[in-house]
């Protein structure tokens, strides 16, 4: 039943404390959010706990969602990202307090990046475009952290992001055009 409703209806029901509506939203977006969380924290057990925490926050804070400021998924993505970043910061503090400052996660991250590969339109982009988008969207880096990570000037990095987004748009538009053409032909 919940799956048949659109986001606005589901959100209205969640704010009325309809648990089934939350499960409907979960069925729709848990995969996308889990994809982001898992790529950020690179640990399945932690990612699962954080996904649960994210949906509990969605349930508790639904009244603070304002549709005029953006789509529901964007709002949920921010919750997932911030929840994960906070958990990672705590973990980092824990590692530091245990005097393991020599811990180097860069190498681990690079291997893990291959492990959780990217799919869809982003995979068709040039590697530097893929990496730019991946860092800011799937890895939780800020622009200021990401350009250092890529080892390019901030301006260059910003242009990578812009170019990548334009290319994604073109890809999706092409797909849309092909889709409409198919519909036209079928009709």
């Amino acid at each position: 039943m919940a799956q048949l409703l659109n986001d606005d209806e589901l959100i209205r029901l969640i704010s009325k404390k309809d648990k089934n509506a939350l499960y409907g939203i979960y069925d729709k977006y848990s995969g996308a959010l889990y994809g982001v969380i898992l790529r950020m924290c690179r640990n399945e057990a932690t990612a699962q706990d954080l996904l649960q925490e994210t949906f509990i926050k969605i349930w508790q804070k639904i009244d603070s969602y304002d549709a005029t400021k953006g789509k529901f998924y964007t709002w949920a993505y921010r919750i997932a990202k911030n929840t994960t970043l906070n958990a990672l910061r705590k973990q980092e503090l824990l590692i530091q307090s245990e005097d393991l400052s020599v811990y180097n996660n860069k190498t681990q991250d690079e291997t893990a990046l291959d492990y959780i590969g990217l799919n869809g339109a982003i995979k068709k982009l040039e590697p530097h475009h893929q990496e730019a988008i991946s860092l800011v969207y799937f890895r939780g880096y800020t622009h200021r952290e990401a350009y250092l990570e890529m080892g390019v000037p901030l301006g260059t990095f910003k242009s990578y992001v812009r170019q990548a987004l334009n290319l994604l748009r073109e890809n999706y538009n092409k797909e849309l055009v092909i889709f409409w053409l198919c519909i036209e032909i079928l009709i």
């Binding site: 499960y23 848990s30 995969g31 996904l51 964007t74 993505y77 959780i116 799919n119 992001v161 987004l165």
Partner: protein, 251 residues
């Protein structure tokens, strides 16, 4: 227009979507999106692109995550499904109730028993006091009549009262005389037995004897030569009625 250009040139829409902006920039972008249709359209497309990319890169989480969320949101149902804690609580309650009643009954019984014991103890104490007093008295008397310095003397009745028997215990050291007058026959109400000591032919009053009493302490008279019993009017006499002498013993 100026704001739109700045937002687009600086990539603030992307940063806003990625939640990288500080509070003031976020407020500026939010206001701009609401008021500027071009920005609004751009942002919507950006959101759609990112969402599409996220869906293309979705990873299906294991089913237990959803179950954990359900458990967290519906603890009441979980509790309702399991009546065990409720039954345990009810059982403990019932057990407590019945054990309280049992303990109250036991307490009442114990209380009654204690009160009964308390009254019995008081009674026993009183009896013990009486016995103690009797013991002290008897012991004193026994010491009086049973000491090595005590001389028991039998006073047999003469022809006036042949069945009379009295025993006098005389202790010269302690100067005490105790008489057992149980063996004297009962007298009419207006008569009594009286004992006298004979000192140089003079009869000196020692006291009245009651036939009912076991041991009677009488006056000890120095230099008495004999002990004599006469029958006198009730209350005793100043001088003995010698014709009524029923018994005597020489010391």
């Amino acid at each position: 227009m100026m704001e739109r250009k700045k937002i687009l040139d600086e990539g603030l829409l992307e940063k806003y979507l990625l939640d990288e902006l500080n509070d003031s920039d976020r407020t500026i972008v939010e206001r701009a999106i609401i008021s500027d249709e071009v920005l609004k359209k751009q942002f919507s497309e950006l959101e759609a692109d990112f969402e599409k990319m996220a869906l293309e890169n979705a990873i299906v989480p294991p089913t237990h995550v959803k179950n954990s969320i359900k458990e967290q949101l519906e603890p009441a149902i979980v509790k309702r499904l399991s009546n065990t804690p409720l039954l345990v609580a009810a059982s403990i309650g019932a057990l407590f109730f019945f054990s309280s009643i049992w303990m109250y009954t036991q307490w009442q019984n114990t209380k009654n028993e204690f009160e009964s014991l308390q009254s019995q103890t008081t009674d026993l104490k009183e009896r013990l006091n009486i016995l103690e007093e009797n013991y002290v008295l008897t012991n004193t008397r026994l010491k009086t009549i049973d000491g090595k310095n005590t001389v028991p003397l039998l006073l047999k009745g003469n022809e006036l009262s042949p069945n009379s028997r009295a025993i006098a215990y005389v202790n010269h050291k302690k100067k005490m005389v105790v008489v057992n007058s149980e063996g004297l026959p009962k007298l009419p109400k207006d008569k009594t037995y009286q004992m006298w000591s004979d000192v140089d032919g003079e009869m000196i009053d020692m006291g009245v004897l009651k036939s009912s009493e076991e041991l009677i302490t009488l006056k000890y008279i120095d230099k008495a030569e004999s002990l004599n019993i006469t029958i006198e009017p009730t209350g005793g006499n100043d001088h003995p009625t010698v014709e009524n002498l029923i018994s005597y013993v020489i010391l």
